[in-house]
Amino acid sequence: MTDLTLAALLPALESRFGPDVKVLPSRKEVLGVVQVKVDRLVEVARFLHDQGTFTHCALVSGVDWIEHIEVLYHLWSDALKGYLEITVETAPEDPHVPSVTSIWRGANWHERETWDMLGVRFDGHPDLRRVLMPEGYRFHPLRKSFELHEPEELEVKARHV
Amino acid sequence: MVETLYSVAHTLVVLLLGLLGPLVPGSGAYGPFLAVWLSYLVVGALVFAVSLVNVLVFIWWERKLLGRFMDRRGAMHVGYAGLLQNLADGLKLFRKQPFSPREADDLGYYFGPTAYLVISIAILGFLPISFGFSGGAVPLSLLVALALFSFAPLFIFIASWSSNNKYSLIGGMRTAAQLVAYEIPLLLSVVAVVALTGSFDLNVIVGDQAANGWFAVPLILGLIIFFIAMLAEVERIPFDLPEAEAELVEGWSTEYGGMLFAFTMLGDYVRALIGSYLIVLLFLGGWSMPWGLSSFPLSGIVFFQLKTYAVFAIFIWVRASLPRVRTDQLLQIGWKRMLPLAMVNIIWALALVVWGYPVIHWPAL
């Protein structure tokens, strides 16, 4: 099953994982959008990596939708020549997502950045530290509750890291 | 002819002593002795003056020439064509705040660069820049000069160790390894010259070359080895690892600023000057020129300087066109390539002697 075409892959994904996976209509720029339940994420990722030839984890990011936090994975396949988008939803207070660093080493810093910027904890991540903001900074700037501040206010904020 | 400056100094000193002698009772006994020493002093002071001015002009020469190699102009706004730029740099460093880093060991921190500069300048006293025109014309001048020359890694290491900075430390370690590795081929290539001349006196060596042709021709291999080893000894690209800008911020002089930094800088250039001097003296015929060009008064010193600048221009040329080698490659080149080649060079020189290369013993000064 190493060289699945896309037409076969997504149904295979759906049939294997059942209701935990939802394939959304694809957009122009990505091959497909797959919604995954949090607890099956690692399995789906493993499946896509091993059988779906998605060997390159291009991007891990997140969006704060206020009522929930969406974590996005963009995977590239050299065989299919396209990106697959995986989305995972998690609760905004104390969000947890399993880490995929065991599958793609390259996801390491992306997950660190998502933790830094959005406060999503990646369980099983080997080294979940802040990467862009200084260690000990208290906020997660890309949360919608964190506003861009006036500089004067900001200084106070930044100094109380 | 070439003795002119020394004779003039001697004459002047004798004259002066003759005038002053009667004022000091009982000075007649020391007169000739004093005259010789004083005239050496005068000549020595002149040598230092010429050499240190040379150092300043060297830096300018490097800046301008390097600029030309790089399609730009180099310093040009201070003084005519930027000639005063180095003076400005030196004066500026002179008035910078003296300091030592909190973690540094003060004694070593101040001692290192100072001793480095002093020991480098001291060598200048033994190098004749024209016949008899040296601070101290000892029969073993070459040996003394090379011995003093090899002192530098010690002081560099003291300086780097006591600055208590990791970059400095690595730079100092590299310096020690590098200078020791290249000292040996350097000395061995000198051995060939000494074998041909039979003397350690630089005046004799130059005189021999004046009579029998420059050693650059029979000992071309020796010249190449000496040149490369000298590049490493004066820490210039491609062997400038101790101050490799890209990885060690400024190498062993990272923590130095102000006057001490000026010392390290000046020491480097003094050593570059000495390196050029030695190449000219040992292989390029010193102040002698073919076709009797050096027989005019003062022409010897002028030719000597011209040759020195030409040699330094090659240093700069190398700097402009070669990348830096790595530590292990540097040591490999030193121990595995240069050392055997230097041995070959010695054998070649000995063969020349056996075959009857004219060995002339000039009367010592």
């Binding site: 700037p141 500089p151 200084e155 | 400005a88 004066l91 102000g258």
Partner: protein, 198 residues
């Protein structure tokens, strides 16, 4: 003018000085010195002072000339302006014409050109670098970010102007300033040093 004697009158003088600071100092000291027959140190000091002032007057222009003509900036790159900073030392502009040679170690620098956005994360390091530079030293804020935060002024991580951290002598506008502008800033600093305003 403090007379360094240990006689009783000196203490009175000191007392007077303390109680009446408006009183001119020199005549008292002289009178005191003459009274206590210790005018030699006073004359010595006066002479030393004169010599010092004379030396200062004689050497200050020289050192001022030296200092302003050999400004070594710190060779570091923060952001966009750093590229223009590098271009300013390329073949076309050649900042070395003015004796401006970037050095990598702050110990050997006179001039800190802040060429880019300074973040709060960097602020400690910037201050360390500034403090590592020996006096006399100058700072140039190059570009809008260093001057006032630039387009990132409102951001949560950006220092809105580097003058909140270190004293800045010359501000160069532009985003990024062209290399000419940078060199002009350095020359402006030279002018300021010549007029002893920086």
């Amino acid at each position: 003018m403090n007379a360094t004697n240990t006689s009783g009158t000196a203490r009175i003088i000191t007392h007077v000085k303390e109680t009446d600071p408006m009183e001119p100092e020199v005549p008292f000291a002289e009178v005191e010195a003459v009274q206590s027959k210790e005018y030699i140190p006073v004359i010595k000091e006066t002479l030393t002072g004169m010599i010092q002032r004379g030396l200062d007057a004689a050497t200050k222009p020289v050192f001022n000339w030296a200092g302003r003509n050999s400004l070594f900036p710190l060779h570091w790159g923060l952001a966009c302006c750093a590229i223009e900073f590098a271009a300013g030392f390329g073949a076309r502009w050649d900042g070395e014409r003015f004796g401006v040679v970037p050095r990598s170690s702050p110990r050997q620098c006179d001039l800190l050109i802040v060429n880019g956005t300074v973040t709060w994360k960097l602020s400690h390091k910037l201050i360390t670098l500034w403090e590592q530079m020996p006096e006399p030293k100058w700072a140039i804020a190059m570009g809008n970010c260093a001057t006032g935060g630039g387009p990132f002024r409102t951001a949560y991580s950006v220092v809105p102007g580097v003058n909140k951290l270190i004293p800045v002598d010359v501000y160069i506008a532009g985003c990024p300033p062209r290399p000419e502008a940078m060199l002009d800033g350095i020359l402006r600093l030279e002018r300021l040093i010549r007029e002893r305003r920086a």
